[in-house]
Symmetry: C2
Subunit: 343 residues, 2 copies
DNA sequence: TTGAAAGCGCTAACAA
DNA sequence: TTGTTAGCGCTTTCAA
């Protein structure tokens, strides 16, 4: 008997705090969650007791009783991709100082794994979900549509978002890059892309469309691979491109890694950039502008996407339906640097 | 009344499954957690019922009743640092397919924030903890020492680890780099380091010790900054180094970003690498070997550290005290490439 | 503004 | 091998 409260693991409970403060357990609970509805006198007694006992709430008990946790689930397709490490940073900056935690799920560019992770997250009663794709399986979409928590889809702007979304117009961004190459006078542009997930496919399509309209499309200059993106892959694709289409005078790279690789391969072959070869990158991680020559890039607002996604989620958690702008376009930037400045 | 089970959110509970299968709740619980101790007949009925109802266990209830979760806490000092993104990848590869989840805490190179995160994680009854540093506050150390779960400290090998550790000998690794520069004939080596956390300080000390013994130390050639590491910072430090000590004929960089930056700065100034300037990097992320010229580096087993840390944790969770090698040295590799090959 | 009672959905401990 | 009983530590009613 008497194995009530302060016994197991010596950790104090709400009841211990209540006894110490001479109030009921629920008053302690309220003092923690919404201090404003508790009288100042009670609050002070409770706060003193909490401090004295070193009380920390048990999130499991809270989750069980309230049917919700402080966990925000974040689904990303990859952990190695630099793009997502910036988004991640934004997300963590966004939850900093709040009572929320982020749990990352990596679905490795597999829609099926993504579906499993969504199911899994949902069973944990998350406070909210951030999802990096628009291309779920029908089952996954159905799960999200009936999710008991807010959901933000990130990276793209799209009408097909389930609940909220924040990103930028990926296709317009690619077109801006293609147009930039054209405007710089390059007339035999190529395209390099790894990891051909649906988003990469769409970007390639946008590149083709623009160049076709401009009368400079040649599919021989489009080099892709399903393998992951890396600097080494950029070198390899560049090498293949140049052997297949030696006339190529510019490349649009679907990713910063590839662009750096393309630059290195050009350097190895003593092909002068930008005079003989123009290079335009996509995303614009820090290293890109430090290259010599510095690389022109279409910059994506990766960190901001993360920060904003969390802000939207938190607002919606605090007051469901309160977020007015449910689909936010953060824009992109065309940043011209040395790698395309022929004039 | 009758608001028992399948009502709130329509989600089925253990009791629903038990009724459907015609067994007791605890039998369902056992079927899920340790199927081998349940009769085949019961197991099949339960499994069918689970499938029929689409039952998913509630982790909060489980955590409350059992006093432990499936969460593995991972504390990292930074999310931008490439080094940790590889460790992260290893960690996620390690938990892949297990019932465990990873929750990342970013303490931003602050021992105080780290202490707060440890406290926070511990209040969530984690299954295990992975910590990226050896330099906790005394309070944080005390928390870890009395943690009710296994703890693995990663990156370094050190006798002062609280419970288990996996990493490599950081000081020997730096000495290997310094020796390599010396062996290549460089006699006026410099050192570049950003983010002077305790680990970076120790590596710098190792560099000084080696060069002092070799008779080639000059503190004017040591350039450091408390700011974060980046390619741009590498360029800046290199620039400062060259203007302060123009005689410098080699640099050991405390981080891959810095080494790439140093290479770019050399390129901009038309300083030939490796003939006039040798460069040795530390960690060896993919991009390093794709540079032109390729960069010599001391390679750290980052992904392996993550994988191994999880393996040790899981083994220890499954059977406390079962991990025999509690302090694992995964070694480093000195990889000579073009950036130091003068001969 | 405060409290009492009744669970949330699961598992530990014991008994059969 | 299976079941019964009694909570885990909190929050949700509802009442005062």
């Amino acid at each position: 008997m008497a194995r009530k409260s302060t016994d197991r693991s010596g950790r104090p409970t709400l009841v211990d705090v209540a006894k110490e403060a001479g109030v009921s357990a629920i008053t302690v609970s309220r003092t923690i969650r919404s201090p404003e509805i508790v009288s100042a006198a009670a609050r002070q007694k409770v706060e003193a007791a909490i401090r004295k006992l070193g009380y920390t709430p048990d999130p499991a008990a809270s989750a069980l009783a309230s049917h919700s946790t402080s966990t925000i689930g974040l689904l990303v397709p990859s952990l190695t991709n630099n793009v997502f490490s910036d988004v991640l940073r934004g997300v963590y900056d966004g939850v900093e100082g709040t009572r929320y935690f982020v749990q990352i799920g990596n679905y490795r560019y597999s829609a099926l794994e993504e579906e499993g992770l969504i199911r899994n997250f949902l069973s944990q009663r998350p406070a909210g979900l951030v999802i990096s794709s628009m291309d779920q399986t029908p089952a996954a979409r159905a799960l999200l549509e009936s999710a008991p928590c807010p959901v933000v889809q990130i990276m793209e702007i799209a009408d097909r978002a389930v609940d909220m979304s924040v990103g930028f117009d990926q296709l317009a961004a690619v077109r801006a890059g293609a147009r930039h190459l054209f405007d710089c006078g390059y007339r035999r542009p190529g395209f390099l892309s790894a990891r051909m997930d649906p988003r990469a496919q769409r970007r390639l399509a946008a590149f083709r469309d623009f160049n076709e309209a401009a009368g400079v499309l040649d599919d021989r200059r489009i080099m892709t691979t399903p393998q992951p993106s890396s600097v080494g892959m950029g070198r390899l694709l560049m090498e293949q491109l140049l052997s297949r289409a030696p006339e190529t005078d510019a490349v649009m790279c679907n990713n910063d890694d590839l662009a750096v690789g393309a630059l290195m391969e050009a350097k190895r072959r003593n092909i002068p950039v930008p005079s003989m070869l123009g290079i335009c990158s996509f995303n614009d991680i820090e290293m890109v502008r430090q290259m010599v020559p510095s690389l022109t890039a279409v910059a994506s607002p990766r960190r901001e996407i993360g920060v904003r996604a969390i802000a939207m989620l938190l607002a919606e958690i605090a007051e469901p339906g309160s977020v007015a702008d449910r689909h936010v376009d953060l824009g992109y930037q065309m940043i011209a640097r040395e790698s395309t400045s022929r004039r």
